[in-house]
């Protein structure tokens, strides 16, 4: 049913549709509205779940780990510093191959403290072994959240659903909420074959020595590789039931024949598509690659998606100081095996919540027309604000 809903509220309702058994979360801006809404659903008796109000994100992650390990469908949400505080547990969750779902309401990581949107938090845990999906709208966030639960239990891996903080979480827009019947048809009850069980008392989280650790890591990596196909299949399966897909691993939008492309994740993709509409006459239409799956990284699909491109702008919402953009670096690495790889321009935008106007589409395309265009820049930084020695 179509409704005008705030993103956080919609996510809370989507989570409720999956019938989670245990929810644990610690409040942090801009994730708060999600957990507030979930708490209310529990308080109102609309959601039968154990809501565990923990004392830190660290414990939130640990609680859902324990809950899922004990065989319960579990969910948490966090952002920013919370994700970093969770990071140790996140490695653990994936390493123990415990399936659960987390929403990351993407936010910058301090210091200096900054509560606004970018994707530094999820990038900081890119190696934590989680499936990381990005959404460009609240509709996608709702659909992806529901898909994530099935993905987690089918792959035996935890799934983080990324949605830009404020830009999506605090935005009211029209969302088509799937019905309970649809979700029930799509998502089977939670099952975790390796769950703790007195009937078959196994030990999880054993000490693995050098004799086996490389194999363990390999198997984790291989599982992520296999998850690529699952992400697409599950998106299709969802479409079959609900009538709407969220873009598999990645989708190509805009002018599919264009020689210039823009690759991005999250809500900025929408702004770029709006910019394309408004400025195609001025600077031409670009191919827009909307990357949904950041982990596992869809290298093959990406190589196919950039075919024929001369130039590719990769928009990063986080940087790795001393190197450049995180996504851009990864895209470059993946495309390096291509014979006619497009030239990659990696620009960080909107760090710490700086507004990204649709004119950015035009500015990006104009910039790369220049042969001397930098291959990496914090694109919207106004260096005049800095002391000369800091530029």
């Amino acid at each position: 049913m179509r409704e005008a809903l705030e993103g956080s509220q919609a996510i809370a309702r989507a989570v409720a549709l999956t019938k989670p058994e245990v929810i644990a979360a610690y409040p942090i801006t801009p994730q708060t509205h999600i957990v507030e809404n979930l708490s209310k659903l529990v308080a109102d008796g609309k959601l039968k779940a154990e809501y565990v109000s923990v004392e830190s994100e660290f414990s939130a992650a640990s609680v859902v780990l324990g809950a899922a390990a004990a065989g319960a469908r579990a969910y948490t949400a966090s952002a920013s510093q919370g994700i970093l505080l969770m990071s140790e547990v996140m490695y653990n969750i994936s390493g123990l191959r415990v399936p659960l779902v987390m929403t990351i309401a993407n936010r910058a990581v301090g210091g200096p403290i900054n509560i606004w949107n970018d994707q530094s938090d999820t990038m900081a845990v890119r190696d934590a072994g989680w499936i990381q999906l990005h959404c460009i709208s609240n509709q996608e966030a709702v659909d992806t959240t529901i898909q994530a639960f099935r993905l987690a239990q089918e792959t035996g891996l935890p799934v983080a659903v990324n949605m830009d903080g404020f830009v999506l979480t605090h935005t009211m827009e029209v969302i088509d909420m799937p019905s309970q019947e649809e979700v029930d048809a799509f998502l089977p009850p939670f099952e975790f074959a390796d769950a703790l069980d007195p009937e078959r008392p196994r030990s999880m989280g054993t000490l693995v020595d050098p004799n086996f650790f490389p194999e363990v890591r390999h198997s984790h990596h291989a599982a992520m590789g296999k998850a690529l196909a699952r992400i697409e299949e599950i998106d299709k399966a969802y479409k079959k039931v609900v009538g709407r897909a969220s873009g598999g691993l990645l989708t190509v939008e805009g002018d599919k024949k264009a020689k210039v492309g823009i690759l991005a994740m999250g809500s900025v993709v929408g702004t770029m598509m709006a910019g394309l509409e408004d400025f195609k006459d001025e600077v031409g239409a670009a191919r827009i690659i909307k990357l949904r799956s950041f982990r596992p990284f869809p290298a093959k699909a990406l190589r196919a998606a950039v075919k024929g491109l001369d130039k590719l702008v990769v928009i990063d919402r986080a940087i790795s100081p001393g190197l450049g953009g995180v996504l851009g670096t990864e895209v470059s690495a993946v495309l390096s095996t291509l014979k006619n790889a497009p030239k990659v321009y990696n620009y960080a935008l909107g760090l710490g919540g700086r507004d990204i106007p649709e004119t950015m589409y035009r500015d990006l395309l104009t910039t790369i027309e220049d042969k001397k265009a930098p291959r990496f820049a914090v694109f919207d930084a106004d260096l005049d604000k800095l002391a000369p020695e800091d530029r």
């Binding site: 123990l96 196994r202 054993t206 198997s219």
Partner: protein, 565 residues
């Protein structure tokens, strides 16, 4: 190659695949059933710890059966034995030795009262028969053990009644005759035992006859003859020697007139103690015991202590006996044929140049006391008549623990010299019977039990509750007679409570400590498979040899030994 599990879980208890026993490099725990000190010191060979174990579980008859496997007359020994077991008892260091003799006596009486059957089977008709000379404690024990071992026994006793020393040498105040008769008759009634009274070796038959007629011969004639006594060659004409004085008194109830005056008894054994007390009770003006030994005390070496039943000494002192220790009679002072006084001189047993102890009299310590009677009690010996060729000196001197002095001929009991207790005699009987059984079966001599003794230091006393020794009523001095038993009995409840005090030295208490405290779960509890009589086995596949069970075993039953490989 193990198949890698997703999430690297492991199956329950799979650590059993990893044998941590290989870590045990130097020491391993083993069960060592040491002798409890009571058992180690028991001349009769009783395993008090073993029968106390039955009592701790409330199994009274089993306890008695375990006891009589060594000693068929606990009712007797519980009364007359000097109980070296109690002296040795490790509990002495905690809160007083166990009242072993009281419980033993109760068990013996209980068996008589309940009519429990001895754990013996009737011997086969064609079983070999052993001839036994003398129906004292040694002879009775020998007969009993012969039957227990499947043989028959035929006893030849000079006197008209069986009992030997028990009847002739021990006052009824210590061993009531009804108690003696009850237990003794139960033994004699066992199938396979024949008793011939008024049969004297050398008069009615010869030793060679017996050797010919019987599968083996056991000689337990006791010591009937007092050892010669004189003071530098002087002997009073009206000398009354202790043992005969006692026997006279038991038979006829009279003492010589001189016994009304001041009496000196010279000696230091139970006979001396008995005659002292009888004479005091019969109205002697004074009775003084002169003994070369010392009285028990912290400064007295164990081998210097007067060799009497401790409680007898205690009672005698209660009754007013004067004892002059470390002294001897140096001179008799006579007025005609009457003794008028003695000179007493101090002495000490000192080690001589050959390492043997000898008595040294100290010149200048002489003092004279006037007396009316001197009673020597310096010991008895075998009447060598009828044993010619088998005895050399006062006693039989076998060169082996079994008492074998010739082919199929054994000597037992007091006749083997000053080892002197009823319990030793009973022990001799058992050991000889076992040796005879082996000899007749053509087997080697039984191997002596050479297990080590569990010392106090080997126990972990943290695990024992404090509990004081049962207090036993004694007849007040004023009420003591020639007949009434002085020491009272204990109740069933008291006996069972006393049994709980047993520390089970050196043997498994089945307390579960090892099982409970093994960090490696390497102690397996199993009464069936623990062939050593404990309830546990070590799983050496997993025992790391930490020694915790060794340390926490209350009884010292678990010990650490070097790894062999």
């Amino acid at each position: 190659m193990t198949e890698l599990t997703r999430g690297t879980w492991a199956d329950a208890g799979s650590s059993l695949d990893f044998k941590t026993g290989s870590w045990r490099s130097t020491q391993r725990p083993v069960h060592v059933h040491s002798k409890a000190p009571c058992h180690a010191t028991c001349p009769a060979g009783e395993d008090q710890q073993a029968w106390f174990a039955h009592l701790q579980l409330g199994h009274v008859e089993e306890a008695w059966r375990s006891l009589v496997a060594a000693n068929p007359m606990p009712g007797v020994t519980g009364r007359v034995c000097p109980h070296p077991c109690e002296t040795a008892c490790n509990r002495t260091e905690v809160d007083g030795a166990l009242a072993i003799h009281n419980v033993e006596r109760w068990l013996g009486d209980e068996a008589v009262a309940k009519g429990w059957d001895y754990p013996v089977a009737p011997p086969a008709d064609d079983a070999p028969t052993v001839a036994i000379v003398g129906a004292g404690p040694a002879g009775l024990s020998a007969a009993y053990h012969c039957v227990r071992l499947g043989m028959k026994a035929e006893i030849f006793e000079t006197l008209p009644e069986a009992g030997g020393l028990l009847r002739m040498g021990i006052p009824p105040t210590r061993l009531p005759r009804n108690v003696l008769d009850a237990e003794l008759n139960r033994v004699l009634d066992l199938p396979g035992i024949t008793l011939n009274l008024r049969q004297r070796l050398g008069r009615d038959m010869t030793l060679e006859d017996l050797r010919e007629r019987f599968a083996a011969v056991m000689l337990s004639p006791g010591c009937e003859m007092s050892k010669p006594w004189s003071v530098h060659g002087a002997v009073p004409p009206d000398l009354h020697e202790g043992l005969h004085l006692l026997q006279e008194f038991y038979d006829h109830g009279v003492l010589p007139d001189a016994a009304k005056g001041d009496v000196i008894v010279h000696g230091g054994g139970n006979t001396a103690m008995d005659i002292c007390r009888i004479m005091m009770r019969a109205g002697a003006k004074s009775v003084t015991l002169i003994t070369a030994s010392g009285l028990p005390g912290p400064d007295t070496a164990p081998d210097d202590v007067i060799n009497v039943v401790p409680r007898e000494l205690e009672e005698a002192l209660e009754e007013g006996l004067t004892i002059i220790e470390h002294a001897t009679v140096g001179r008799l002072i006579m007025k005609g044929s009457k003794i008028k006084g003695v000179e007493i001189v101090s002495l000490k047993k000192e080690k001589g140049p050959d390492g043997r102890k000898r008595r040294v009299e100290f010149t200048g310590t002489e003092r004279v006391v006037s007396v009316d009677m001197v009673v020597p009690c310096v010991g008895e010996q075998v009447d060598p008549e009828a044993f010619e060729g088998y005895i050399d000196g006062a006693y039989f001197s076998p060169d082996n623990p079994y008492g074998r002095i010739a082919d199929r001929v054994y000597a037992l009991g007091d006749a083997r010299g000053h080892r002197g207790t009823v319990a030793a005699a009973i022990g001799d009987g058992r050991i000889a019977a076992e040796a005879v059984a082996a000899e007749l079966a053509g087997a080697d001599d039984p191997v002596a039990d050479d297990r080590p003794e569990m010392s106090y230091d080997g126990l972990n006393t943290a695990y024992y509750a404090g509990s004081s020794r049962v207090s036993v009523a004694k007849l007040p001095v004023s009420e003591r007679t020639f007949e009434a038993e002085i020491e009272g009995g204990i109740s069933r409840a008291e006996a069972l409570a006393e049994a709980q005090r047993c520390l089970s030295c050196g043997n498994c208490l089945a307390c579960d400590n090892c099982w409970t405290m093994c960090p490696d779960n390497a102690v397996i509890k199993t009464a069936e498979l623990a062939s050593d009589g404990s309830h546990y086995v070590f799983d050496y596949d997993y025992c790391k040899g930490c020694g915790l069970c060794v340390q926490e075993c209350p009884t010292g039953y678990i010990q650490s030994v070097p790894e062999t490989s």
